[in-house]
C-alpha cells in the first residue's frame, strides 16, 4: 500500500494530543516560520497542562496582524487560553511589549525552564539522534550551571545536558510530499528542521503539498522518515516568499515606527 502521511485537516492532525502532553513548537520568533494553523487546532482542541518547548513563548496575533501585516497566531494563543503549565524556552520576552507569558510567569501560573538557544537546539537534536546527552561549555559559571553535572574536558568546564523528550512536534515547512519529505524557505528552517523527528510524532504544516518526486533529493532538508503527518495550509493563504502588498508595506512601516519609538523610550529608562 502506498505510504501516505497527508492528513486532510488541522483538527485531524492534532486529534490525539492529550492533556499533559509535551509539545515541541517550531519557528524562531517571527511569524513566517511558526506552525500557526496547528497551534489554532490545538487551541480548538482545548487540551490543558501542556509543556511547551520553543524558542519564544509567543507575542500575539495583534503584533503580527495589526502591526506587522501577517495575521497569524503564535504560542500566545495557548498562553492566553490557559492551556500551558510549563515552558522550556530561550527567548520568551520582548523588548517592546509585555506578552501573556510574562504576565502569567510573574503571577506564578506558568513554570519556566530557561535554556541557552544553542543548548535548546542541541537537546532537541540529541532526542532525534538517540543520544543520552552531551557536554557543552555554554553556561558554565553562570546561573544555568546550577544542578548540572560538570566535567573538565581539555582543561575547560563543560555541563552535561540531556535530550528533551516530547510527545508531539509541531513544525512549519514550505513544501512537503506524501512520504514526509520537507523543504523550507529562506530563514524558516530554524527550530522547524531541528525538531523534525525529535518527538514521538512529528506533524508538519506546509504551504504546499507536492507530488512525490517533485522535491529534488539534493535539496530535501528533512528526509521523510522524520515526519509522521503532513497537512497543507489553505490555498488562498500567502505563498512563502511572496513580496508584500502595499497594505503590508504600510503595516510594516508603522511597526518600525512603533518599535523605534519604544527603543527611544527604553533609552530614556537607561535600559538600552
Amino acid at each position: 500500500m502506498p505510504i501516505n502521511k497527508i492528513v486532510a485537516s488541522f483538527d485531524e492532525a492534532v486529534a490525539d494530543i492529550q492533556d499533559g502532553a509535551v509539545l515541541l513548537v517550531g519557528g524562531f520568533g517571527p511569524i513566517a516560520s511558526i506552525p500557526s494553523y496547528l497551534l489554532e487546532a490545538v487551541a480548538r482542541r482545548g487540551v490543558k497542562n501542556l509543556t511547551i518547548v520553543s524558542n519564544t513563548a509567543g507575542f500575539g496575533k495583534d503584533i503580527w496582524g495589526n502591526i506587522f501585516g501577517l495575521p497569524y497566531d503564535d504560542l500566545d494563543l495557548l498562553m492566553k487560553n490557559g492551556q500551558v503549565k510549563k515552558t522550556i524556552v530561550s527567548a520568551p520576552i520582548s523588548q517592546w511589549i509585555e506578552n501573556t507569558w510574562e504576565k502569567k510567569v510573574r503571577a506564578g501560573e506558568i513554570e519556566v525552564e530557561m535554556v541557552a538557544q544553542g543548548t535548546l537546539a542541541e537537546r532537541i537534536r540529541a532526542a532525534r539522534a538517540g543520544l543520552g546527552g552531551f557536554y557543552t561549555y555554554v553556561g558554565a559559571g553562570t546561573a544555568l550551571e546550577e544542578g548540572k553535572e560538570t566535567k573538565k574536558i581539555d582543561g575547560r568546564k563543560y555541563l552535561l545536558e540531556y535530550p528533551i523528550k516530547a510527545d508531539f512536534g509541531l513544525i512549519k515547512a514550505h513544501k512537503g510530499d506524501r512520504w514526509g519529505n520537507l523543504v523550507y524557505s529562506g530563514t524558516s528552517r530554524t527550530f522547524n528542521a531541528t525538531m523534525a523527528g525529535a518527538a514521538k510524532v512529528t506533524i508538519a504544516e506546509v504551504d504546499q503539498i507536492v507530488e512525490l518526486g517533485e522535491l529534488d533529493p539534493e535539496a530535501i532538508v528533512t528526509p521523510g522518515l522524520y515526519v509522521d503527518r503532513v497537512v497543507e495550509r489553505p490555498r488562498e493563504e500567502r505563498e512563502a516568499g511572496k513580496w508584500m502588498s502595499e497594505e503590508e508595506k504600510e503595516s510594516q512601516r508603522k511597526w518600525r515606527v512603533a518599535t523605534s519609538l519604544k527603543e527611544e523610550k527604553d533609552e530614556a529608562k537607561g535600559k538600552a
Binding site: 537534536r125 546561573a143 530563514t187 528542521a193
Partner: protein, 223 residues
C-alpha cells in the same frame, strides 16, 4: 556646566564596524549592533551570520520591500545575495559553539573589569531572554559590546563585579560606549579612545573599576 556630548547609536555602530577585518564572519545582536552592517569599511568583504540560520545575507531592506522568509535575528527583512546559505538551528549553533564566528557584537546591562558580561536579565523584570547571546558570548572568538557608558540614572555599567545574572564570565574583548573605547586585558581595562571633548579623567568618573589609560589614547576615529 554644560553636559558633554555623547555619541549616538549610529556613530557607535560606525566605530564598531572598523573592527570588521576583511573576510571575517560577524554576528550582530538585536538593536544598535545591527546598524553596524551598514558601515563595513570599503574594500572589505565581511560575511554576516545570523543565528536564525543564514550566512552571507545582504543589507537590511527598505521598509516593506523584503521577504518575510528572509530575516535577520532582529526579524528585519534582509536582501539575499550571491553566496548566501541557509541552515537549521542546531547547525547554526554548531557554527557558534564550534568557534567559527570571528566577531559577535551585542548590547549589555553590565560588564565587569574582568570582562564578565551580564545582558540577559534585568533583575527588576524578574524574567529574561537568553536567546543566542549566551552561546555567542561563550563561542565567538571576539565579543564586542556596544552600550551606553552609564544608565540614564547615572549608575555604573562598567563595574568591579556584575550584580546582574551573568551571560558569560570573562568573555568581553572590547567595549564601545557613547563616551569611550575600552579594551579588556589580563591586566585590566585599558582606555584607548575617548569621545570628542572628553578626557580620560571624565571617562574614569563614570567607570567603577580603575581604568588603565593607554599612553597612546586619542579621540575616537571613525574612518
Amino acid at each position: 556646566m554644560k553636559q558633554k556630548e555623547r555619541l549616538d547609536p549610529q556613530t557607535m555602530a560606525l566605530r564598531t564596524a572598523k573592527e570588521f577585518a576583511d573576510g571575517m564572519i560577524v554576528n550582530l545582536g538585536i538593536g544598535t549592533p545591527t546598524m553596524a552592517a551598514n558601515f563595513v569599511p570599503a574594500g572589505r568583504e565581511v560575511l554576516f551570520h545570523s543565528e536564525n540560520g543564514v550566512l552571507g545575507y545582504g543589507e537590511i531592506t527598505a521598509p516593506g520591500e523584503g521577504d518575510y522568509n528572509l530575516v535577520n535575528a532582529s526579524g528585519q527583512t534582509v536582501k539575499p545575495q550571491p553566496g548566501m546559505s541557509v541552515f537549521e538551528h542546531a547547525e547554526s549553533f554548531a557554527m557558534i559553539r564550534g568557534g567559527h564566528i570571528d566577531v559577535t557584537v551585542m548590547g549589555a546591562y553590565q560588564i565587569s573589569e574582568k570582562g564578565d558580561l551580564a545582558n540577559w536579565m534585568p533583575p527588576k523584570r524578574q524574567v529574561g531572554t537568553i536567546g543566542g547571546a549566551m552561546d555567542l558570548a561563550f563561542g565567538a572568538k571576539r565579543v564586542i559590546i556596544i552600550m551606553n557608558h552609564t544608565t540614564k540614572e547615572g549608575e555604573y555599567r562598567i563595574v568591579k563585579e556584575c550584580n546582574y545574572p551573568l551571560t558569560a564570565p570573562r568573555c568581553v574583548s572590547l567595549i564601545i560606549t557613547d563616551v569611550a573605547v575600552i579594551e579588556v586585558t589580563d591586566h585590566g581595562l585599558v582606555l584607548k579612545e575617548v569621545a570628542p571633548g572628553w578626557t580620560p579623567e571624565e571617562v574614569q568618573s563614570l567607570t567603577e573599576p580603575r581604568l588603565i589609560v593607554d599612553p597612546d589614547w586619542h579621540e575616537i576615529e571613525l574612518m
